[in-house]
Each structure stands twice: as C-alpha cells, then as structure tokens.
C-alpha cells in the first residue's frame, strides 16, 4: 500500500456565481486557506500545479502569493483536471523535486452549456460536427444514461431521487451554491433538456477555487493539519469501444471505460478493495453519471443502483454516502477546480470536520473521481 504522500491542508473558495472577484483571487484565497489549514507559509511551498480553463497563465498568482521562484505549472484536462493536479503534485514529490507542494484549481465560466467556440480546431473534432449542433455535452450525458436505463433497468424515479439527495446535501453544506432542497415534483416538472434528463438533473457551470497542500508523508507530523494519505491516484484517457463525450463513432467491440480503468488501477496500486470505501465523491455532471459511475468505479454491480438509491443508500446516513457536499449538482462546476473540491470534501469528512453535512460515523477511506471530455478520468483513493 502506497503510504508516502500526505495531504496536510485543504482550502475552498465556495463555488457559485462570483461577479466581483477574479478567478485568480479565488485561487489565492483557496491557497491561503489550505496553507492556514496545514500551518505553513507560501515560502515553504516548493512546487505547484494549477488547473484552469478560463485563466490562461495561473502562475500569475505568485504576484499575490509571493515571488519565491517556485515552479508553478499549468495543467488542464477538462473535467478531469482536479484529480490530475493532485496526482502530479504527488509525483513531483515522489520524484524528489520537492518535499512540499500545492495544487490549486480555479475557474470562472459564463452561464449555459459549454460551447466549443467558433473553431472546432482545439477539440480534434470536424467543423461540421459543431455546425450541426452535436458539440452539446448534455446530449452525451442523456444518451449514455438512456442506454444504461434500457440495459440495467434504472428507472426515471432513480434519476430524480439522485437529484433530491444532491440538493438535500447542498442545503446542509454552508459552502454549497444551491442551498435549497428540491422536491421530486419540482425536479420532475423542470424543463426537459435532453431526454430523459431535465434541468434539475444537471449541474451548471459556476465560479470557484479549491486547493490542497501535499507533502512527504514522513514529514507530515511537522504541520498542524491532520494528515490524510494519498493511497493511489490514476489518470487515464479513453479506449476505442466505449461511448464517450463528443465521439463521432466508437467500436462495437466493447472496451473498458476510462473511469473503470482508472478505478481498477487505483484499487490495485492502493491494495484497497472497493468494499473498503466509506465515502464517495464522483463526477455527477448530471444524475445519470453519478448512477453509472458508482458501478464503473466498482462500488456496486450494474443495476444495483436502483435498489440502493431507492433505499437511501447514497444519502448521508446510507451505507455508501455519495457526493456528501451536494456534488456538482449543488455546487456547480468551475471545471479546473471541481476535482479538488472533491478532495477538500473527502479530507474534511475523513477528519470528521465537514460541518452540518458530516457523515455521522467513523470514516476511514474515501474515493474521488472525475470524468470529462474527450473521455478522460482521474481517480484518487484517500485514507486516514
């Protein structure tokens, strides 16, 4: 079991719509909070990885943190950015380049579905694909769950129960964006976006930042933050035989999906089994993917979600609490920051200091999972 990297501090600039503050300033705020949590200073940080879609060069943050000469590298892997920031910071420490590092995700987005922009060149997709209206992520989310419901008997009620749970968690979480619980009726009466998914089955783009301080596990005791260990982290891109976001075609011969591949590799390298996971933060761009990802991560059998969710198994008091802070549904998605929000939440839940949405039992091990265009996923396993 890998036991060489510790997370000793986490910070969050609560997600939402923040017109009066720049993404860079939100990132600085999250970084300062993480340093305070760890009980160290910017001058202690020896390496940094920063993720953002909207900020071209986030190393400009050093202007507001300190010109210490620290190497700050930008990474962007769509929705999978956050987990990969943590993984690369850990790898830099493992490579002996630093003892203490920071990873920061920060972003700010306009309202509405993400647009590829005028030219399709940066997506690797042909221009006609954008012209005819196929570069719309909700179409993919809808089509994947549509097939999954057909294959595994997931009902529309299970979609809505998942949204009810998310907004209920958001209501409890002081840092969430959506603080109002929604009834099943309100959700079922919201606008149909892409069948079978309605408005309140989806998250929205939002603004925010999150950060984590990572160090060599053997020096973690020097700092005040209760260490949580990074047991494994895996980042993978897609193979040929899975339906993935914005794919013009895929092979009829099924292959393992990116999320499943990342999870299998992470469990194997951690020497931890899916049955040992106490708490889950997984990519819930919409309810369908929360449901499917639970099985892709190996936490439940395909189809088992129907009974699990009906019986409240994924709620705060259930046997497998999922997206305890309200997930993407209640927090929205600043893409570069979203994965580190998950890390922030799992660290605080494992420490037992999450707040009003704390799971009321002893938690030892958690998993974080992000997935996004063009079929990339990152999984981390964290434990006390």
């Amino acid at each position: 079991m890998a036991n060489d990297i510790a997370i000793i501090g986490v910070g969050l600039y609560g997600f939402g719509r923040h017109a009066d503050i720049s993404a860079i300033q939100m990132g600085v705020s999250a970084a300062n909070q993480a340093m305070d949590d760890a009980g160290l200073k910017w001058t202690d940080i020896e390496v940094g990885y920063v993720g953002s879609l909207s900020v071209m060069m986030p190393e400009t943050m050093t202007k507001f943190l300190g010109y210490t000469g620290v190497p700050m590298s930008k990474m962007f892997n769509g929705c999978a950015t956050g987990g990969n920031l943590l993984l690369n910071t850990a790898n830099a420490i493992r490579a002996g380049r630093a003892d203490i590092g920071i990873c920061i995700g920060l972003d700010k987005h306009p309202k509405g579905a993400f647009s590829a922009g005028e030219s399709m060149d940066s997506t690797g997709l042909p221009q006609w694909y954008g012209d005819v209206g196929l570069t719309v992520n909700p179409q993919f989310f809808a089509m994947k769950i549509q097939r999954y419901m057909h294959d595994y008997g997931i009902s529309p009620e299970t979609l809505t129960r998942t949204a009810v749970k998310a907004f209920r968690n958001g209501e409890l979480n002081p840092a969430a964006w959506r603080r109002r619980a929604l009834s099943a009726e309100e959700i079922d009466n919201s606008m149909m976006v892409c069948d079978p998914l309605r408005k309140y089955h989806f998250c929205s783009p939002s603004d925010g930042a999150a950060a984590a301080i990572v160090c060599r596990a053997d020096i973690a005791h020097r700092f005040s933050g209760t260490p949580i260990y990074l047991r494994a982290g895996e980042f993978v891109t897609r193979q040929t035989g899975t339906i993935d976001v914005q794919a013009t075609s895929f092979s009829s011969t099924p292959t393992i999906g990116a999320s499943e591949a990342a999870a299998r590799a992470a469990f194997e390298s951690a020497g931890i089994g899916p049955d040992e996971i106490d708490i889950v933060q997984c990519q819930d761009t919409e309810v369908g993917h929360e449901i499917m990802h639970l099985a892709e991560l190996g936490l439940v059998e395909h189809g088992e979600q129907e009974a699990l969710i009906r019986d409240g198994g994924t709620s705060l008091g259930g046997r497998l609490p999922v997206n305890t802070d309200g997930g993407l549904l209640a927090n929205g998605e600043p893409i570069g920051a979203s994965g580190l929000r998950q890390v922030h939440e799992v660290v605080r839940q494992l420490r037992g200091v999450a707040g009003p949405h704390q799971v009321q039992r002893e938690l030892k091990t958690g998993i974080t999972h992000v997935y996004g265009f063009p079929g990339s996923s990152c999984v981390t396993i964290l434990s006390k």
Binding site: Q146, R147, M192, C194
Partner: protein, 145 residues
Amino acid sequence: MTSNGNTQIPIAEGLFTWPSPAPQLIGGQCSDCKAVHFPKQDNCQACAGREVVALPLSRRGKLWTWTIQNFVPPIPPYTGPVEGFKPFGVGYVELPDGLVVEGRLTVNDPAMLKIGMDMELVLEPFRIDAQGNEVLNYAFAPVAG
C-alpha cells in the same frame, strides 16, 4: 438543384458519398487491424496504425441510443436555424461494419424512438448558406414498417 433553384452541396467533403441515389457515410478502415472508425482519419484509433483506407459504411443499422436536443445549441459553433428552432433527435446507430456512429435523427418525437429499432441513412437539407446553396447533412431515419 432543388425545386427552389438552390444548388445542393454536402456539409463537408469526404463525409458521405455524393451525389448518390443511395448515399453512404465514408469511414476509415485500418489496413492492419481492420478496425473501422468514422469519419475517416489518417490513423487507426484502435491499434495506432498509420495506414487507413476509405470504407463506405452500411446504410442500415440499429438504434443504439438516442436523445432529443430541446434547446438551441451554443452559438458558435452551431450554424443551424435559431428563429423557429425545432428540437432535433440525436442518436448513435450500430452498423454491421463494427462501429457505432453518431448523427442527427430525422424524428424528434420520443414516442417514435426505441433502442434496437432499424435505422437508415438519409441526407437532409440543414441550412441555406451565404451563397444560396442548400447544405446537406446526413441523418438517420427510422426504417418504415
């Protein structure tokens, strides 16, 4: 030429056989591992081989999944009608050539769509361009009967 006097042009060259009484999508097949993808590109996505030949794809297949796009897609890149926008179907159709292809559907009524149903390739007018040409795109239509 259409009845309105517009010249018809395909939305992209090399996407489907045109003109043709029975148009086919043009995929790419790896000379080495024989895997097929769409649209044709210069390398194989399965084995990373760099020799790919054009393969006209079967016109019929089975609906693998579907949805309805109920709102105007983000502009850009969308160039279709906005005034009087009509929701459109989107789906993946599994072809006997060993791949599942994404495309627009000719129908937008959920009651008319069922996973596993037979679908057929058609060309349909998408928009009129600045030169007055009628731009044709491919779509999948339920097979009658």
